[in-house]
Amino acid sequence: MNLDELKKLKEKAQRQVALREGHKKYRVVFSMGTSGIAAGARDVMTTMLDEIDKRGLDDVEVAITGEIGLVDVEPIIRIEEAGGEQVTYAKVNAADARKIVTEHLEKGKVVEGLAVGKAKK
C-alpha cells in the first residue's frame, strides 16, 4: 500500500463518516441485486418512496446497493440511523414498506415483527 492508496482510503472513510453524520436522520438502503429484483425490491422501493413523499418526510435519504448475500430473505431494507444504529428488514412487501415508513421513519419505532437484525454500529 503506497501513500496515494492511503490517501484514497482516508478520503473514502471521511466520505462515509460524513454520510453517517450527515444532515439526514435516516438512511434507507435497498438491496437491488438479482435476488432482490426477482423478489420485488424495485416495486417495494417505489412504494416506499411514494409513501415518504406523501408524508413529506425530509429527514430521510435513500441509497441502493447490490447483492448483499441474503438471497433467500429478499427484499431487504436496511435503515441506518444518524447515531450509528442499524435495523434490517427482510421479506418486505408493499404493505410492510408503508408500515416501516409510518412507524420507523415517521415515529421512530422499529417494526419488531419485520426486523431481523438490530446491530450496534
Binding site: K24, R42, G66, I68
Partner: protein, 159 residues
C-alpha cells in the same frame, strides 16, 4: 426469473454500476412490423476478462469474490428469457473498456415478458448511482421515452 423486461434492465444496470461504470446507455425498441423486441445495455465499466465473462454467462457463479456472496444469475436469466421467446442473447466485454449486453425476442411471443415499469427502473438506477450518466432511449408503439440524467434529472424526493 424476472417478471418484467424492465427488471432485467435494472439487473443489467446494477451490474454496470457494480463494474464501476460512469456512463450507462439503455436502448429499448419494439418493432411491430418486424415483430421484434430488442434491448441493449452498454456501459463503460471495468469489463470482464475471458474467464469472468464465461462464468457470468454460465449462470454458475458470480464474478464477485470475497466475503459477500452474490448470485451470478442475472445474465443467465436474460439469456433464458430471450431464448424462450425465439430470440437471442449477445454479450461482449472488454477489460478496461466496458460491457455491452443485447437481447432480442419475438415481440408477439406468448412467453415474452411485458416491458413493465421502465420509469421505476430508471428511478432506481438514478438513485443507485447519482454520479453516473444514465441515458435511456425507448421506442415502442405506444410511447417513446428518452432520458438523460445530465439534462433530465428530476429525482423524486427524498433524493
Amino acid at each position: 426469473m424476472h417478471e418484467e423486461l424492465s427488471l432485467h434492465i435494472l439487473d443489467l444496470g446494477m451490474n454496470s454500476l457494480a463494474a464501476g461504470a460512469t456512463s450507462i446507455s439503455i436502448r429499448v425498441s419494439e418493432d411491430r412490423a418486424r415483430d421484434r423486441f430488442a434491448l441493449l445495455v452498454r456501459d463503460n465499466g471495468r469489463g470482464m476478462g475471458r474467464a469472468a465473462f464465461v462464468r457470468a454467462l454460465s449462470g454458475r457463479g458470480s464474478t464477485k469474490t470475497g466475503r459477500r456472496r452474490a448470485v451470478g444469475l442475472g445474465l443467465a436469466f436474460l439469456r433464458q428469457a430471450a431464448e424462450a421467446c425465439e430470440g437471442r442473447f449477445r454479450a461482449a466485454s472488454l477489460p478496461g473498456h466496458g460491457t455491452v449486453v443485447a437481447a432480442r425476442m419475438r415481440l408477439s411471443h406468448v412467453d415474452r415478458p411485458p416491458l413493465g415499469d421502465l420509469a421505476a427502473t430508471v428511478r432506481a438506477l438514478a438513485l443507485a448511482a447519482p454520479g453516473a450518466r444514465l441515458r435511456v432511449a425507448c421506442r415502442a408503439a405506444e410511447e417513446t421515452f428518452a432520458f438523460d440524467s445530465q439534462t433530465d434529472l428530476n429525482l423524486p424526493s427524498p433524493a
